[in-house]
């Protein structure tokens, strides 16, 4: 069955549609792969029955000659930040252990409506706070990749680390991710997979456990650009239940994919050439520039002068929003309740939240509480929103000259679990992915090759607001030239 799990999303969809194999065969193969992959810890909950059930419906619809959805017969993994009806939705936190929503997130519902099936809920950094998946209350996800000649457990990136690991290990052809400051792109880069964060507002946030509302965006993670385009079409779209949802039609990104970049301009921001940038990463970036030139694009040096302040801005705004978004986890209506003997209401809150939240979540809640508190609000939060406006303006200026921007996705390849014990070191890993998030821009990561240690590296393409097509096209141009075929050797 290994051949089946090697197929891409489009291959599966087309094969099912043509009757080359059944959706049930597909689901069975992936269910088996998931069942075997416990060592990766990519899934918090596996739902083989749900996958089979969806597959049977697709097969029945096909047999009845009914029209099939965009993702008919494609089983997927769902980041455990999306509410799924009657299936535990935990955000990888103890505070939501056992929580079974009585509702379905807009994005997951759209995927089911398109004929996809649920293989299970994917592990992640707790409340999507983290870049290595180590903050999960269910233990870290282990990357299927290993550095050449080593068997040290590596991070699959984060926060969508379960998603990236599962796609890379062929446990699912595609998975959902969410991206607040790079949580789709960085794990994609670390695992040799492809992922796109669309323009803020493209995908409804309704039913996705909120981390930082002004930054959170859902997106697909898959094996290639075309698969991402197809899946994003199914995920995106106006939702009247989300007041920040973009009231725009969903373009036919997949049908309009075009790797011919003649007439396009690609910006290379000088501020991203960090001192001491990892040589392999720098090399991959140079290679990417060459590929885009080869695809016909003109390469232009640009400046994004406020880049260096993006991380500091992000680490004020995201925790501030999170501190408020996570106030609802209080042990009253769902999830964990810690009620020490004789505790009053406020003591119950404090005990519940102390027991339910992990260290990184607590850290961010405290930072966020502090920067919003009386006397500090203007110095931190208002200041950060002003700098954020400047960062967005930098991009706006740049996009007057260029169509897309090319950068590395992350400053390094995957590192070992436990390697980054200092939170700031961890935060620095988001240096390239955070600025576009602050500006709400579409951005994707595509595999560019392997570093000297045999680990994947990704390149990030950033586009204008609403121009996912431009981003996907540039991604496709790189994909066609990178011919990235490496896959982790199965050790699990």
């Amino acid at each position: 069955m290994s051949e089946m799990t090697d197929k891409t999303l489009c291959e599966i969809r087309d094969g099912v549609a043509k009757g080359e194999f059944t959706a049930v065969e597909v689901a069975t193969s992936f269910n088996a792969a998931v069942a075997e992959a416990g060592a990766l810890n990519a899934f918090i909950v596996a739902t083989p029955e749900a996958a089979l059930d969806a597959a049977q419906k697709v097969d029945a619809a096909r047999a009845a000659g009914q029209p099939l959805g965009k993702l008919a017969g494609v089983p997927i993994g769902m980041k455990d930040l999306f509410a799924t009806r009657d299936v535990q939705t935990s955000a990888a936190s103890k505070i939501l252990a056992g929580f079974k929503p009585q509702y379905e997130s807009t994005v997951s519902q759209k995927l089911w409506d398109a004929g996809a099936g649920l293989l299970g809920k994917l592990n992640l950094d707790q409340f999507a706070m983290g870049s290595s998946n180590e903050s999960s209350a269910f233990g870290p996800v282990v990357s299927p990749w290993r550095r050449a000649g080593e068997d040290k457990a590596l991070t699959p990136g984060g926060s969508s680390g379960g998603s990236s690991a599962a796609v890379a290990a062929r446990l699912c052809p595609a998975a959902t991710g969410t991206d607040t400051g790079g949580s789709i792109r960085q794990p994609a880069a670390f695992t040799g997979t492809t992922g796109i964060k669309p323009t803020y507002g493209r995908c409804s946030r309704w039913g996705i456990v909120a981390f930082a509302s002004s930054l959170d965006q859902a997106g697909p993670m898959a094996r290639n650009v075309a698969d991402c385009a197809v899946m994003l079409e199914a995920m995106a779209g106006f939702d009247e239940k989300d007041a920040t949802s973009l009231d725009l039609p969903v373009p036919e990104w997949a049908a309009n994919l075009n790797a011919d970049l003649r007439g396009k301009k690609v910006g290379i921001p000088k501020e991203y050439r960090l001192d001491g940038l990892n040589a392999d990463v720098a090399k991959a970036w140079e290679q990417g520039i060459a590929w885009l030139k080869d695809a016909g694009a003109e390469v232009v040096d640009i400046s994004l002068p406020h880049t260096q302040y993006a991380l500091a801005t992000y680490y004020i705004i995201a925790p501030a929003e999170a501190s408020s978004n996570l106030a609802r986890y209080d042990g009253v209506r769902y999830g964990l309740r810690e009620l020490p003997d004789g505790a009053n209401l406020q003591e119950m809150y404090a005990a519940t939240r102390a027991a339910g939240f992990g260290d990184e979540v607590k850290r961010r809640i405290l930072i966020g509480t502090y920067v919003l508190s009386a006397g500090y609000y203007d110095a931190y939060y208002t200041k950060a929103q002003k700098v954020r406006a400047l960062i967005a303006r930098d991009f706006e200026e740049a996009f007057k000259q260029v169509d897309v921007i090319l950068t590395p996705t992350a400053p390094t390849s995957a590192y070992a679990l436990g390697e980054k014990s200092n939170p700031i070191d961890m935060y620095l890993g988001d240096v390239f992915s955070v600025p576009p998030s602050l500006a709400g821009l579409p951005a994707m990561s595509v595999p560019a090759g392997l570093d000297a240690g045999g680990l994947p590296l990704g390149l990030q393409i950033v586009g204008r607001p609403f121009d996912e097509q431009g981003v996907l096209n540039a991604g496709l141009a790189i994909e066609q030239r990178a011919q990235f075929a490496a896959k982790p050797e199965k050790w699990w």
Binding site: Y103, V332, L345, R353, A354, I365, L366, Y370
Partner: protein, 100 residues
Amino acid sequence: MSVDTATVAKIASLARIKVSEAEVAAMVPELNGILDFVEQLSQVDTDGVEPMTAVIPNVLRLRADVVNAIPETGGDKRDAVLANAPAAEHGFFGVPKVIE
């Protein structure tokens, strides 16, 4: 700006997260590390800059005043909202007694 143990204890209380003294002591340098890091924003000249309000230029959309217009966000959901409650009692959420 930096925080001391008293401030961290106060923030933790404001955030309703119970912390031991040892935890507070451990958090002080961590939080100060982060605050030092974000301190660099004070170097940025933001005179005359409006704080960002909408990531993508967009204004607030309003909905019509209709009860249960969208089933998912309508009322009459007593069972659904109580389904996961740690102490659902006679159609209410139970909490430790509050003296007002």
